[in-house]
C-alpha cells in the first residue's frame, strides 16, 4: 500500500510555512514543472537534462493487474524489475541516444504533449520538496500511431544555488500492459 501511504503523507514541513509563502512556493513549483514539460515537448533534451541533479533517480516500476487481496503487489519494488531505473548517467545516455542521429524510434520524431496537473506539495524538508502530480502524456508518431500514458508522479525537487532542480521522479502509470510499440519518450 505504498501508494496510499504516500497520498496521505504528513506535510509537517509544509505546515511551518505561512499561507503567503506556501502560495509562492506552489506557484514557483508549478511554473518550474510546466517549463520542464515544455522542454521535453520542445525537444530541448539537453536543457532538460541540466534540470537534474548529479545524484538524481528516475524510476518507473511495473504495475500489474491484481485483485484487492493482492493489492500490496500492484507495483514492483525498488531493486526488482522496472521500466526505468535511471540515474544521471543513464538519463544522459537516453539524451545522447536521441541526439545520435541514428535513434530510429525518434526519427521522424514523436510529437508529445505533457499535461501536468493536480500539483500538490506534500512535503518540505530543508532544501528539498516532494511534489505529487497527475500527468497525461500524449504521443503521436508517424501518421497513425497514438499513445497515451496517464499516471501519478512523485517528484523530488531541491533548491540549488537558489534555483529549483529535480533530484527524483517516481512514475506510477495507470496502465499495466504498455499499449505502445515503445517508450522512447521522456516522462
Amino acid at each position: 500500500m505504498a501508494q496510499a501511504k504516500a497520498v496521505h503523507a504528513e506535510t509537517t514541513g509544509l505546515d511551518t510555512l505561512a499561507p503567503r509563502q506556501r502560495m509562492e512556493l506552489q506557484f514557483e513549483i508549478e511554473q518550474f514543472l510546466y517549463a520542464e514539460a515544455a522542454m521535453i515537448d520542445g525537444r530541448e533534451y539537453r536543457a532538460w537534462l541540466d534540470l537534474w541533479t548529479e545524484d538524481c533517480s528516475y524510476w518507473m516500476p511495473i504495475r500489474r493487474t491484481v485483485t484487492l487481496s493482492d493489492i500490496d503487489r500492484e507495483f514492483t519494488r525498488r531493486g526488482d524489475m522496472s521500466f526505468y531505473d535511471d540515474n544521471k548517467q543513464s538519463l544522459a545516455m537516453r539524451v545522447a541516444k536521441m541526439e545520435s542521429g541514428s535513434s530510429w524510434s525518434e526519427d521522424p520524431p514523436s510529437r508529445t504533449r505533457h499535461i501536468v496537473g493536480n500539483v500538490r506539495i506534500t512535503d518540505v524538508k530543508g532544501d528539498e520538496m516532494t511534489v505529487e502530480v497527475a500527468f497525461l502524456l500524449y504521443r503521436s508518431r508517424l501518421n497513425t500511431e497514438e499513445s497515451m500514458w496517464v499516471g501519478r508522479r512523485v517528484d523530488r525537487l531541491r533548491r540549488v544555488d537558489g534555483a529549483l532542480k529535480l533530484c527524483g521522479r517516481e512514475i506510477y502509470l495507470d496502465q499495466t500492459l504498455i499499449r505502445a510499440t515503445n517508450m522512447s519518450t521522456l516522462f
Binding site: 518507473m60 516500476p61 511495473i62 500489474r64 493487474t65 491484481v66 485483485t67 487481496s69 493482492d70 503487489r73 514492483t76 519494488r77 531493486g79 526488482d80 524489475m81 522496472s82 521500466f83 526505468y84 531505473d85 535511471d86 543513464s90 545516455m93 537516453r94 545522447a96 541516444k97 536521441m98 545520435s100 542521429g101 541514428s102 535513434s103 530510429w104 524510434s105 508518431r141 508517424l142 499495466t176 500492459l177 504498455i178 499499449r179 505502445a180 510499440t181 515503445n182 517508450m183 522512447s184
Partner: protein
C-alpha cells in the same frame, strides 16, 4: 506455380509449402498478413506445441497463480493444494467468463464473478449456487470441471504446457537445442525469478518479432544509437567472425556469437572460484557492458561441448527467446496477425552477491523492454514490415532471407548437436520458416514427426 488464394480462404497444404523457398531463401509476405493463416497457426502450432508458462519461483506456494496464454487460449498456471502445478483454461464452463482477471496472485479457489461457480485449484467444480433449488440437483458437478492442458512438465523449473495429448514429452520436444537454450539460464546454478515482467504490445506479426532474435545483421544499424550513446559497444558484442547457428528439431534454433574453441579452452582451465570472481568483477567493472560471464565447470556436462560455447540467441519454437546474457526470457505472444505482446522475464542465480544482483537488474531494465536502449528501436521496424505485408502489390515481393545460403558446412558434435560456425547469416531464419511450413501443413503430431525436415548435413 501460381497458387491463387483469396483472402479468407484456408490455404491448401501445397500453398503453405510454397510460402518459404529454402533453396532460394525467399519468404512470401502473406505469412505476416493473413487472418486465415493466423487462425491456422493457433490450431496447428500453438495448440500442439509446448508453450512456456512460468518458472516455479513465480508460484512457490499453494494457491499462487500466474496468467499466461497458449495462442488465444488464456490459461491459469496454479500450484494446487498438493503442490502440483496445474494449467487450467481460464474460462468458466457455465458461460465462459474469465475466472481470473488479475495477472498473478494467490487464490484459495477460483470463483466466477458471473454466477458464482467455484472451482478448486486443481480445476474441479466444487460449488454451484442453487444446485438444489434451481438445478433441482439435476446437474453433475464432476463433469463440469475446468478444461486443462493435456500435458504439463518442467525443465530446470521452467514450466511448459501443451494442449495436445499426442505431443512428445517436453524433454524430447526441446531436444538438444532447446535443452541448451534453457540450460543457458541455469548454467551457473539454480535461478529464481526477479519480480516484475515488462509487457508491451507492438502492432506487428509475431513471427517477425521471433525471427528478429536470430538476426545479428540488424544490430549494427538498428541499434547504432545505443552504441553512439555509450550504452554498449555494439561492434564488440557482434563477433561477426565468431558466429554459430545451431539447428534443432521442431524448428528450435540458436543464432549468434560463439566463444572460440581456444578461448573456451582457457575458461576450461579456470577453477570455479576463478570463474565466479571473473563474472562478478566483469559486471561490477563495466555494469553497462557485460560480457557473458564464464560458465561454471558443471555447465559443460549440462550444455555439451558446443552449447557451453554458445553466446547467441536460442528460440524454443514457437515463441520463447532466451537472451544472450542468460538472465532473461522473452515471450512473443500472438494477438491477431497484426499485434504481438512482448513479455520480458528476468532470472538470476540464487545467492548472487547483492551488488552484482543490483547491477544485473539495472542492466536488464536498460537493455530490453519498451524503454530499453536496444528494444526501443526494434518495434517500428517490425510494425512497418507487417504493415507493408498488407499492400496488394507490396505483398507480391517476397522477403529475401538468403544471406549465407550454400556457403557453410554443417558440423556435428559428439552429442549430435548440429551447427555451422560462420559469419553473420540468416540460416536460423530459414530453419524457422522451413519448420513453420511443416507445422502448418501437418494434420497431427504424427504428421509433424513423419514429415519433419531432416537435420542438415553437408553444405547449407
Amino acid at each position: 506455380m501460381d497458387l491463387v488464394q483469396e483472402p479468407g480462404d484456408i490455404p491448401s497444404k501445397a500453398a503453405i509449402r510454397s510460402y518459404f523457398d529454402p533453396s532460394e531463401g525467399t519468404l512470401d509476405r502473406r505469412v505476416f498478413a493473413d487472418q486465415s493463416l493466423y487462425d491456422l497457426e493457433m490450431k496447428n502450432i500453438y495448440a500442439r506445441a509446448w508453450n512456456f508458462m512460468c518458472h516455479e519461483s513465480h508460484i512457490p506456494n499453494p494457491g499462487d497463480y500466474f496468467i499466461n496464454y497458449i495462442g488465444e487460449d488464456q490459461v491459469i498456471v496454479v500450484r494446487d493444494k498438493q503442490g502440483e502445478v496445474q494449467v487450467l483454461l481460464n474460462t468458466c464452463r457455465h458461460r465462459g467468463n474469465a475466472l481470473c482477471r488479475a495477472e498473478q496472485g494467490n487464490a484459495k479457489s477460483f470463483v466466477c464473478s458471473y454466477h458464482g461457480w467455484n472451482y478448486d485449484l486443481n480445476g474441479d467444480l466444487i460449488g454451484v449456487p442453487g444446485l438444489s433449488s434451481y438445478y433441482r440437483k439435476d446437474f453433475d458437478k464432476s463433469q463440469w470441471g475446468l478444461a486443462k492442458a493435456a500435458q504439463v512438465d518442467h525443465f530446470h523449473g521452467f514450466y511448459f504446457a501443451t494442449l495436445d495429448s499426442d505431443a512428445p514429452p517436453l524433454h524430447d520436444y526441446l531436444g538438444e537445442v532447446g535443452r541448451i537454450g534453457l540450460g543457458l539460464l541455469v548454467a551457473n546454478g539454480p535461478v529464481e525469478a526477479v519480480d516484475g515482467i515488462q509487457k508491451n504490445v507492438i502492432d506487428c506479426n509475431w513471427k517477425i518479432a521471433v525471427d528478429n532474435l536470430f538476426d545479428w545483421y540488424h544490430v549494427q544499424y538498428s541499434h547504432a544509437s545505443a552504441g553512439a550513446a555509450g550504452f554498449m559497444d555494439i561492434a564488440a558484442i557482434l563477433h561477426p567472425n565468431n558466429q554459430m547457428v545451431m539447428f534443432g528439431e521442431y524448428g528450435h534454433a540458436i543464432s549468434g556469437p560463439v566463444i572460440p574453441e581456444e578461448k573456451q579452452a582457457e575458461i576450461d582451465a579456470m577453477t570455479d572460484e576463478e570463474r565466479l570472481a571473473a563474472a562478478a568483477a566483469g559486471m561490477l567493472k563495466n555494469p553497462d557492458k557485460p560480457v557473458v560471464p564464464p560458465r561454471l565447470s558443471t555447465a559443460r556436462d549440462m550444455l555439451g561441448p558446443t552449447g557451453v560455447r554458445c553466446m547467441g540467441h536460442p528460440n524454443i519454437f514457437p515463441n520463447l527467446w532466451v537472451s544472450t546474457n542468460g538472465t532473461q526470457l522473452s515471450l512473443r505472444l500472438p494477438r491477431g496477425p497484426f499485434a504481438t505482446e512482448i513479455w520480458w522475464f528476468t532470472f538470476l542465480p540464487k545467492g548472487l552477491p547483492e551488488e552484482v544482483r543490483k547491477q544485473q537488474i539495472a542492466f536488464n531494465a536498460h537493455l530490453f523492454g519498451p524503454a530499453g536502449m536496444l528494444e526501443q528501436d526494434d518495434g517500428e521496424n517490425w510494425s512497418q514490415s507487417t504493415r507493408a505485408s498488407r499492400g496488394t502489390v507490396s505483398r507480391k515481393y517476397r522477403h529475401h532471407l538468403a544471406m549465407g545460403l550454400g556457403h557453410d558446412e554443417v558440423l556435428y558434435d559428439e552429442r549430435g548437436a548440429v551447427r555451422v560456425e560462420t559469419t553473420i547469416s540468416e540460416h536460423a531464419q530459414r530453419w524457422l520458416y522451413t519448420y513453420w511450413m511443416n507445422w502448418m501443413s501437418a494434420d497431427s503430431w504424427a504428421d509433424i514427426k513423419a514429415n519433419q525436415p531432416a537435420l542438415p548435413k553437408g553444405r547449407v
